[in-house]
Symmetry: C2
Subunit: 146 residues, 2 copies
Amino acid sequence: MPKQASVNIENKIAGLLKRNNLSITDSRKKILHLFLEQTGALAHGDIEKRAGEKFDRVTVYRTLQTFVDKGIIHTIPTADNSIRYALCKDECAGGHHHDHHIHFVCHKCNNTYCLDDVVTPEIKLPKGYSAEHVEVVVDGICKNCR
Amino acid sequence: MPKQASVNIENKIAGLLKRNNLSITDSRKKILHLFLEQTGALAHGDIEKRAGEKFDRVTVYRTLQTFVDKGIIHTIPTADNSIRYALCKDECAGGHHHDHHIHFVCHKCNNTYCLDDVVTPEIKLPKGYSAEHVEVVVDGICKNCR
DNA sequence: GTAACTGCAAAATATTTGCATCCTT
DNA sequence: AAGGATGCAAATATTTTGCAGTTAC
């Protein structure tokens, strides 16, 4: 079973990269692994740490940028100037994001989660404003920490 | 009338600083002026620019930090890693923020506005999560740009 | 006068760029 | 083989810290 699962992940990763016209390289696979292995979002620093000194800091910057451009991952705004990245759902691959889910930051474990089941509410704006995208970030205690 | 108005602003600034046990210094007054003079939010860079080379970059960092600590201004998270600051409403001075308004980023003029009249919606979270603060950032076109 | 604030210098971090080399296709 | 991706070095940019001099109260 672990064998099978890892094959599935490999396939998924290869598919993601191919679909986006990216060559399949070690660093990209490794970084995607990190994202797939866990629920939360990752900051640049997390990735460098967890990748285990394997590749260059610059490669991480470039890889993340590439993934954002292709719509494989998206950024989550936070108030403390630490950008976090999370995997996009399949539907939003290809550059256009349709992630209308909210983000949750636990200030106990400091993890960030995409709550895919929670849809962003409609916001009624004052006259003259038109909305294109609504970002909701909730902070509090997550289910693992309470 | 301009005289009167400027006196009022001066009073307001002095009051704000006094109320928060901060000494009234040139840089603080100048920075508060910038915030009071306009509707939108300011990024660190804006402040350095608009302040007209008057004071040190370090002073800006420290002043902004002080203001955030005291609850005079608050940060607005953005997806592009550029922290923006905006004045808090009177009620939230003193460290505790009760700003339940939303933020709007216009991607034409690139200004950030606090829409004080738009209250953040209730978010229904999955079981196990508890919310403490909800941040909503909408982007689109503002009323001045459309 | 004293504590708080500022400005300068410098350290520590973070991010970007150029280029030679290596890898994927 | 060719183009893209990586790694290293170095250039930039950003933020923090220490300390001496200045200012507000």
